[in-house]
């Protein structure tokens, strides 16, 4: 029973989530280690001057000039509902390319690019509740810590994945997600 579940999970990992080898760009937010697929990360740069955008949702800190390209800057702490970053701490820009537009994610600190073993993959633990759960693909159990893998497409999609709309628009997605993880837990 246990074996078959693992096998099924591995198969799913292979087909739906993970190519055979996965590399992640890692970064830290409020002490947690997050990862984004290297294929989506364009570059990592130090903090840049930002133009404030009045009336914008507050996860969008503003706009920055990335060598002539205008990039929206999103505070990942706010997006994932972590407490605000201390004032004296300068964030780092992780520029990701999602769909057609580039978005810069503000993180506390940047980590290494790491390669992970598929065997260590798990879906988000049920104990991890709240809104942030919908933006996680899953967790890799690294020897020293857990690597939380972000679904970048969802992170930058403010239309369908905002706090209010997950309940309304994303119900089906949420349901699918919930039943899937419930099934896995059994």
């Amino acid at each position: 029973m246990l074996l078959s579940r693992q096998q099924r999970m591995r198969k799913e990992c292979r087909t739906t989530y993970m190519p055979s080898t996965q590399q992640f760009c890692t970064f830290f937010i409020d002490g947690h280690c997050f990862g984004a697929s290297v294929a989506m990360v364009k570059e990592v740069i130090q903090f840049q001057p930002i133009t404030r955008v009045p009336l914008a949702p507050d996860v969008i800190v503003g706009l920055m000039n990335l060598r002539g390209q205008i990039v929206s800057v999103m505070d990942l702490r706010r997006r994932l509902e972590f407490p605000e970053r201390p004032f004296d701490q300068l964030p780092v820009n992780v520029v990701v390319q999602a769909h057609d537009s580039a978005v810069s994610l503000l993180v506390d600190e940047i980590g290494d690019v790491i390669e992970v073993q598929e065997e260590t993959f798990e879906t988000p633990p049920v104990t991890l509740q709240g809104f942030a759960r919908h933006m996680l693909r899953g967790v890799y159990k690294l020897p020293e810590r857990l690597l939380l893998v972000l679904d970048i497409e969802r992170v930058v999609d403010l239309e369908n994945f905002t706090h209010g709309s997950v309940a309304a628009i994303g119900t089906n997605l949420y349901k699918a997600h919930a039943t899937e993880s419930a099934r896995r837990v059994q």
């Binding site: 133009t51 955008v53 009336l55 706009l63 205008i70 537009s101 930058v156």
Partner: protein, 793 residues
């Protein structure tokens, strides 16, 4: 997909577009050997490549088309409209197959046997009965360019004997031309060519050295060659659009880096540094200008497909149309070209379907049976003007009027008072169509409004001019480029913003903010007697939160802007400078915010938001979401609740209070009683060079009936000038009381003319005036400008 297939697709697509044009041209000029040769060549190329790539169906079709063309070329067949249609159908089929190849890498499952049979039938000897007078028999040599292409390697290879083969006589080469002109002897030429092969010298030089020809002759011949073959002189390569955009971005960055570099110049003491920095400066500017040019494309890119469209449409409608195009080289920004494509097509279709009449009707009207459709494009005053003119029936005013009423777009009352221009404007209303029946060409009632919206979206305007029986001209005016627009930079709440120059009217600086009047949180300023609603940019954008209660003594900067015909003042902290800015789109995460139309990067590398003035106006409720609220308010059925709106409260006769919507008021004036004149039974005055009717509010509604004028001190009348759809009306009031911003609950008044109903404002019963009705009931003749041609009777 294979690289070679991709190349084939791109090349064939261009060739097909040319084919369309050439076939239509050929129909007009069937004797042109060159056109026929070019068409033949194109089809031949496609056939050759697709057989090589193994697209059997495509090959079969092209082969049939080619044989038909071969017979035409050899003069065995004459070009009839049927043949042209057949060939055009073949071009369409090829296009479909190419699209299929692009998607599936196979030439599609469609069955083209009927078409192939039709093409085969067309070359049927029966058709030979009408054999045309052929001036020259089969003349493969009359295909100069085709031969010259084949000839190239041959000529280069003719290293050995000084024997003159026919390739040497090719007049598209220098030697051949000289020979043709009899300036060299064949012997000399052959010898020179031989020399050219051995040595590295050019043919002309050798001939001169040998004394076989005069230098002048050779120069003249060279010049003739260059002018004859312009395509050969200009070399082009294909570059992806994304690459060009990227280049454009990088150049922008380079300009910024250059600017910083130039600032450094003052600090560096090295003598070599100054000239170097100047050089970099120059090169960068030049590079920028050149890269900008790559975005420009001639309008012929859009127009090229029109000869075909016009021919097909005209044949469908049974009309004869001659298409003329002027200013095809007029260049436009790539993005604008894309946007005008559909509106242009629509206008052309309209002109043929609605504008140009059937040949018999044209004859009856004393016109040429063939209609003329004229496309013109030219640059003027930083704009591109495009005109679509037809010499057809023109717009039928009464029919437009009837249709507009029938479709409940306007009321009969409104239409009766409209000028010609305003009536023509009706065709741009959504849902308007005068076509008697829906054809597959036009008549569905979606169209002109889309044309107008599309053009206005890119900052352009559309105008109609029409004379009944003579034709219609639609004039489009669009900016040269969307990418770069002039804008005014302002600051508000510590941030910089750009306001596009198109929405800018004037700049006003008040030395003291006390001149601003604030009523219930709504600020207005009397700008030359006219009430200007004010919007504080910082509070509108949420940069400050405290509501406005009173004005401070500090100086105020107002940017007067307009959106959809409404003027309002934008209060900003500081007015900086105007600058040419490069517009970039706002990211997906932010495009829901209606306050911005784009983003730009300023000279110092700073990212700045571009304000969307119409969007801001909507946010601030200067203009309502739907623009025709005033028309709807004509029919109060029961209790009506208006949206929050600003009203001017006036008093008139026996302390009656009345409210006038602020949006309809253009000015507050004082007229001496003596300036009021009588026209018939109506009071009028001269205002702005026009005759403006005057209505005394004390007589509205006509309850009193007495002519007793209310005593006005100093014989000065307080007049509120209202206007709607181009007509003005002066309302004489006793006193202007206040301006309120309120949501009114209106009780219907029974039915009294001129009054929509009453409401309670500031604990007083206040009547809401129906200004549009008052304006329309005012004498029509008085509201028209004097001296029109109907006057003579």
């Amino acid at each position: 997909m294979d690289e070679i297939v991709k190349d084939f697709l791109i090349e064939s697509k261009e060739n097909l577009d040319r084919l369309d044009q050439e076939l239509v041209k050929l129909e007009a000029d069937p004797s042109s050997k060159e056109l026929l040769a070019s068409i033949f060549r194109t089809i031949h190329t496609i056939k050759g490549t697709c057989s090589f790539l193994g697209f059997a169906k495509l090959e079969k079709l092209t082969h049939t088309a080619e044989s038909l063309l071969a017979r035409l070329r050899d003069g065995e067949l004459s070009l009839t409209p049927e043949v042209t249609s057949g060939l055009l159908a073949a071009v369409d089929a090829i296009r479909l197959m190419l699209a299929a190849i692009q998607e599936t890498e196979h030439d599609g499952g469609e069955d083209y046997t009927p078409l192939i049979a039709r093409l085969a039938d067309l070359q049927n000897p029966l058709a030979l009965a009408s054999k045309p007078p052929v001036e020259s028999p089969a003349a493969p040599l009359a295909l100069p360019t085709a031969d010259s292409e084949n000839a190239k390697p041959v000529q280069e290879a003719s290293a050995v004997p000084p024997v003159l083969d026919e390739d040497l006589a090719d007049p598209s080469k220098l030697g051949g031309l000289l020979l043709q002109r009899g300036l060299v002897t064949p012997r000399d030429l052959a010898q020179a060519l031989h020399q050219q092969e051995i040595g590295r010298k050019r043919l002309g030089e050798i001939l001169i050295e040998q004394g076989a020809a005069h230098p002048e002759d050779i120069l003249a011949a060279q010049r003739a060659l260059e002018s004859r073959n312009p395509e050969a002189a200009v070399e082009t390569i294909r570059v992806g659009v994304t690459l060009l955009d990227r280049l454009m971005n990088l150049v922008g960055e380079l300009v910024l880096a250059r600017n910083q570099f130039l600032q450094l110049r003052n600090r560096v003491q090295d003598a070599a540094f100054l000239p170097l920095s100047q050089r970099i400066n120059l090169i960068t500017s030049e590079l920028q200008a050149e890269v900008m040019k790559t975005r420009m494309q001639p309008i012929s890119n859009v127009w090229n497909k029109f000869p075909r469209t016009v021919r097909d449409l005209a044949r469908n409608c049974g009309k004869e149309v001659h298409l003329e195009m002027e200013g095809q080289d007029t260049e436009l920004d790539r993005t604008i070209i894309e946007t005008v494509k559909d509106p242009m097509t629509h206008l052309v279709r309209n002109a043929i379907d609605h504008g140009i009449e059937l040949p018999e009707i044209r004859k009856q009207a004393g016109k040429q049976p063939q209609g003329l459709l004229m496309l013109r494009a030219f640059h003027e005053g930083g704009h591109v003007h495009i005109e679509v003119t037809d010499d057809g029936a023109g717009l039928n005013r009464s029919r437009i009027r009837e249709k507009a009423i029938e479709r409940a777009l306007v009321s009969r009352l409104q239409v009766d008072r409209m000028s010609d221009r305003e009536i023509f404007e009706l065709i741009f209303l959504p849902g308007f169509s005068t076509a008697e029946k829906v054809t597959n060409v036009s008549g569905r009632g979606v169209g002109m409004d889309v044309v107008k919206t599309k053009i206005e979206k890119i900052g352009g305007t559309v105008d109609v001019h029409s004379a009944e029986g003579k034709g219609t001209t639609i004039r489009i005016q669009i900016p040269l480029t969307l990418a770069i627009i002039p804008a005014l930079l302002v600051t508000s709440g510590g941030e910089r913003f750009a306001i596009p120059q198109v929405s800018l009217l004037e700049l006003v600086r008040l030395e003291t903010g006390k001149a601003i009047e604030i009523v219930h949180g709504a600020a207005v300023y009397r700008l030359r007697g006219r009430l200007l609603p004010l919007v504080y940019l910082n509070s509108e954008l949420g940069l400050v939160t405290h509501p406005l209660r009173e004005t401070s003594d500090a100086a105020v900067s107002i940017v007067v802007v307009q959106a959809h015909g409404c003027e309002f003042g934008l209060v900003v902290d500081e007015i900086l400078d105007s600058e040419e800015i490069v517009v970039k789109p706002v990211g997906k995460q932010l495009n829901k915010i209606s306050a911005y139309s784009g983003v730009t990067i300023l000279g110092d590398g700073h990212v700045t938001l571009i304000l969307d003035i119409p969007g801001l106006a909507r946010r601030a409720r200067i203009i309502s979401g739907s623009q025709d609220t005033s028309q709807k308010s004509n029919h109060p059925e029961a209790t009506v609740v208006t949206g929050s709106q600003a009203f001017l409260i006036v008093e008139s006769g026996s302390r009656r209070r009345m409210a006038i919507p602020l949006s309809l008021i253009t000015r507050l004036e004082e007229f001496p009683l003596s300036s009021i004149e009588l026209a018939g039974r109506h009071e009028v005055t001269q205002y702005g060079g026009k005759v403006m009717p005057i209505v005394r509010l004390s007589r509205v509604p006509s309850t009193g009936g007495s002519a007793s004028t209310v005593a006005v001190p100093d014989d000065l009348l307080q007049v509120v000038v209202c206007s709607e759809s181009g007509r003005s009306l002066g309302l004489v009031v006793d006193r202007i009381v206040d301006i309120v911003n309120e949501t009114l609950t209106i009780e219907p008044p029974g039915h009294r003319a001129g009054v929509l109903g009453s409401s309670i404002i500031q604990r007083r019963i206040t009547e809401l005036l129906d200004v549009p009705a008052l304006i329309h009931e005012a004498p029509a003749s008085a509201s028209e400008p004097p001296a029109t041609d109907e006057k003579g009777v």
